[in-house]
Amino acid sequence: MKEFIEYVVKALVDHPEEVSVTQIDGEKTVIFELRCNEGDIGKVIGKQGRTIKSIRTLLGAAAAKAGVRAMLEIVE
């Protein structure tokens, strides 16, 4: 799941080298914290939040396959 987030976000931003994803494992839920260049945040969120919503939906499918729940937060 971490790899998935990194791949998508790096492919969408202007500064892929500044993308980092931290994984925090909970009992049933895995939280991913995403950090990137300030100027790239808009690209990750997208118009009306459509991009981040899509990334979260796909992450949900990956989590379902892994049998967990996953959350993705952008850290500013």
Binding site: E3, F4, Y7, V8, A11, L12, G46, R50, T51, K53, S54, I55, T57, L58, G60, A61, A62, A64, K65
Partner: protein, 168 residues
């Protein structure tokens, strides 16, 4: 390699990588151009998961693929990407146009307009396309609390269809 072939390879790689990272399994990805639209056929053992409830995962996969691919093609050039998984869109298209035609017949007979269930833009387009040649009817998308819904109704100047505002 010409531009189109390059784009096919790029899109195949993007969808293949996404599917692999989500499912941890290889999926079959076949991209091809149909006129100006790049259609991608995906087959996988985990097709249901990749389609998702009401096609939501499929829509997201298509959107993200479009966004990533757009960054790989020259400025100003736009390519429309349509992804289908295990024939889901084809089936859905047939279902929705059949339903739209059934409702259209009811509306023609009764004069009462009908508001369809909320649908995404791609599905609403199927309704509009299915009924575009109906001389007596019009289809309109409306914003409601539940989302965007298509109303099928008689054309203005046709039979009166007042008092038909139904919440559902």
């Amino acid at each position: 390699m010409n531009e189109r072939q390059k784009l096919l390879t790029t899109v195949q790689q993007i969808v293949g990588t996404l599917a692999k990272l989500i499912l941890h399994e290889d999926a079959s990805i076949i991209p091809q151009f149909e006129d100006e639209t790049l259609k991608v056929e995906v087959e996988s053992k985990e097709s249901a998961l990749l389609i998702g409830k009401e096609g939501k995962v499929l829509e997201s996969l298509q959107y993200i693929t479009q966004r990533i691919a757009q960054r790989n093609i020259p400025e100003g050039q736009i390519v429309r990407i349509i992804i289908d998984i295990a024939g889901y869109r084809t089936r859905k298209e047939e279902e929705i146009s059949k339903l739209a035609k059934e409702i259209a017949e009811r509306v023609s007979k009764s004069g009462q307009s009908v508001l369809m269930q909320p649908m995404g833009s791609w599905e609403r387009r199927i309704v509009h396309m299915a009924l575009k040649d109906e001389a007596k009817l019009v289809t309109e998308s409306e914003d409601t609390i539940k989302g965007r819904q298509v109303r099928i109704k008689l054309k203005e100047g046709g039979q009166s269809s007042s008092g038909n505002e139904q919440p559902d």
